[in-house]
Symmetry: C2
Subunit: 471 residues, 2 copies
Amino acid sequence: MADDWANSAGGETAGVDLHLELAGEGSPRAQLMSALRDAIRSGRLASGTRLPPYRTLAADLGIARNTAAAAYAELVEEGWLTAQQGSGTRVADRATPAAVDRKGAAARRNPRRVLHDLQPSSPNAAAFPRTDWAASTRRSLAAAPNDAFGVGDPRGRVELRRTVAEYLSRARGVRAEPERIIICSGFAHGLQLLCDVLNGPMAMEAYGLDFYRDILHDKWIESIPVSVDHRGAVVDELVGTDARAVLLTPAHQYPTGGPLHPERRAAVVDWIRASGAVLLEDDYDGEFRYDRQPVGALQGLDPDRIVYLGSVSKSLSPALRLGWMVLPDSLIDDVLSAKGSREMWAGVVTQLTFADFLSSGAYDRHLRRTRATYRRRRDLLVRMLAQRAPHIRVSGIAAGLHAVLELPDGTEDSTLHAARSLGLALDGLRRYRHPAAPMPHRDGLVVGYGTPSDHGFGPALEALCRALSGR
Amino acid sequence: MADDWANSAGGETAGVDLHLELAGEGSPRAQLMSALRDAIRSGRLASGTRLPPYRTLAADLGIARNTAAAAYAELVEEGWLTAQQGSGTRVADRATPAAVDRKGAAARRNPRRVLHDLQPSSPNAAAFPRTDWAASTRRSLAAAPNDAFGVGDPRGRVELRRTVAEYLSRARGVRAEPERIIICSGFAHGLQLLCDVLNGPMAMEAYGLDFYRDILHDKWIESIPVSVDHRGAVVDELVGTDARAVLLTPAHQYPTGGPLHPERRAAVVDWIRASGAVLLEDDYDGEFRYDRQPVGALQGLDPDRIVYLGSVSKSLSPALRLGWMVLPDSLIDDVLSAKGSREMWAGVVTQLTFADFLSSGAYDRHLRRTRATYRRRRDLLVRMLAQRAPHIRVSGIAAGLHAVLELPDGTEDSTLHAARSLGLALDGLRRYRHPAAPMPHRDGLVVGYGTPSDHGFGPALEALCRALSGR
């Protein structure tokens, strides 16, 4: 990320004195990216040239720091620039852009052969409840009225909205009536719709998924990063911003792993009330807590200002493309209008099947089974690390499908490199970092323990310990 | 539509002399809409005031006619203006906007009780092959590899792309390899992705679905309407435009019903070769032809410049949200990048199920069955009209799920009104008309014969005949 070196000791050493003119069409960022590409293409900026810190450049050009940081980060991804801790952002050796796949996280990852997959992307695919799912399909198809196969309701099938409302209320403390639920095809779809509806900048946690940031970027919404620590997002930072919305992962900060502290839960609700902003609660893995009962959703504190978002992506499979939003009354019409009566939404058979899967008790059984598996896997991870890599601390609560391993300063890249050479795919914490994060980076790994098969998990942990201990 | 009166005799009578200043952000259209809304809100334009013809206004403001026409049409839909044949566009009596639901076609339609549904929106919902679908789900879930339930391939499951390639090649003459297919969640999704990828204006048929136009509008792509007649789109009109793409329904122009004439098929291929434009072939009902074998897809004539789009929305159900694109090599990477690795796409169980449904022969059986039903229904419609409303001509080929009934000039609105009072829901041709269509409007009805149940079809036809004969 472009700002890494800005936090490093020598980061403020000035790079080349760079005269750029912003002109042409598009946002300041697009103009800056275009000017930088032109300068590189023309040879005015030679390979290896160190660029000025983004803060300096932003001040010179009279643009927002965010904008300069984002332009650097994007040109790094496109292959025009490289960013290295301690050495700043430089023009890449062979500054021709790689095939751009901004959103294609998978494609950006290790292209070598993956022997062990500890990427925190998905639940255990082998645990998908095939037989129960097929039975729910059969039952729900037999019971469905004919109009289920007509044009359809953009809110989603009422059978599903009813059972989801009942489930969320029971399991997550959400104040959910079927009329306030809109079915969507996963969190990303929900966030896109909300971006169409909400105006103004959106605050988000300084560590989070890059594709959330991509969605805001594509929708021309400025993102304002908020620091995170072991008590979750530092919501005090919201005061004084012009954010009109804030996106949080209160149950289990993604990926750093802290739950939002009760005082901060109260404080953020105070802030949305005072500022009139909307809170988006991303409850991506609220079902998976291993040390105690899960904390209820924040949404119950102020259903008129909080949008609750959930999906089956962590609990069943991200490939089902099924999620839901519980909306304040004031947003329902706008979100439906943004969705459109003919836009894509979750397929009706998937909707009907999940409604049966929920109401028949199969979902609760599935959750109990997988919760036990993930808990065992997490315990094993913690135990093995204590034995084999005692210098590594596992941070965050015992929850979800991933853990964060704190690394000694300056070792994230080398550890990832060691992992890669062992055929082990996992993520460094840096890729989750917002380009304009207001806090220093701490090196770390994000280890997903959901993805491997049962027999593959032991060998994957073994490889992880080797990568961490350098042996 | 805003331009109706421009084609009527008194249409060019000047309306109020209107001084508007375009300013602020957004496209010229957005600026014009905002200026008109302000003028109405402030009372400067009183209720009932007749606006100048859009051509005059466009010339005055130095903006495109298209833009002015579209702004008028949109303000009509929002409830600020009214447009009536012969009386021009006027400020609405109570010019406060209705709850805006631009894309919510269903909501815009008759809010009264629908006793008979002849809207051309969907196939016969009662014919959905529930048992076969459940069997395909069971078989395909049992056979799927574990990785099917992981993050998934944004191109879609390879099992499905293989069977769809085989099917399209066999049934529709499409040159389709699995590598060039991308699964999407229906035509609208495919068009949205292509809008992200293609630059410049897109030509489209002057009669077509309003939500296609909405998609272009939302993506800031100018649409250029091309006339249609009984030989399909008048593709000669493309020459000299700056269109970079053209969207056509060659097998069965939607909704007017002509197939694209062989000479025009050749001419449009010549045009895309000469201009470098891309052709989007919307093969929405290519499986349903009753008088002969269906004409093969246009795509086979130049697979390097033609994108083929299809779905199960007419053949099985629009609620399944499943479709496909066959792309030229040159577009695949861009479309995948636009889709994104985490964006919504058709759910994996739906994909696997349809792959089995296709390869097991169940799809062909289903098509044979429904083709026979729709053919009988169309024949009955034609026969009853010949007896009961002999002044009405059914135009277009014997194909698809709808027929166009040509009405005497000036009777479309009154016929729709008569239909509505009988509890009969159907569409007038005017709602399909592009706001800037370069051809005069001919009154007509679009009658869908797919939607009713078997026992409901006779009474629906009876009501239609009564509405047409005024008795």
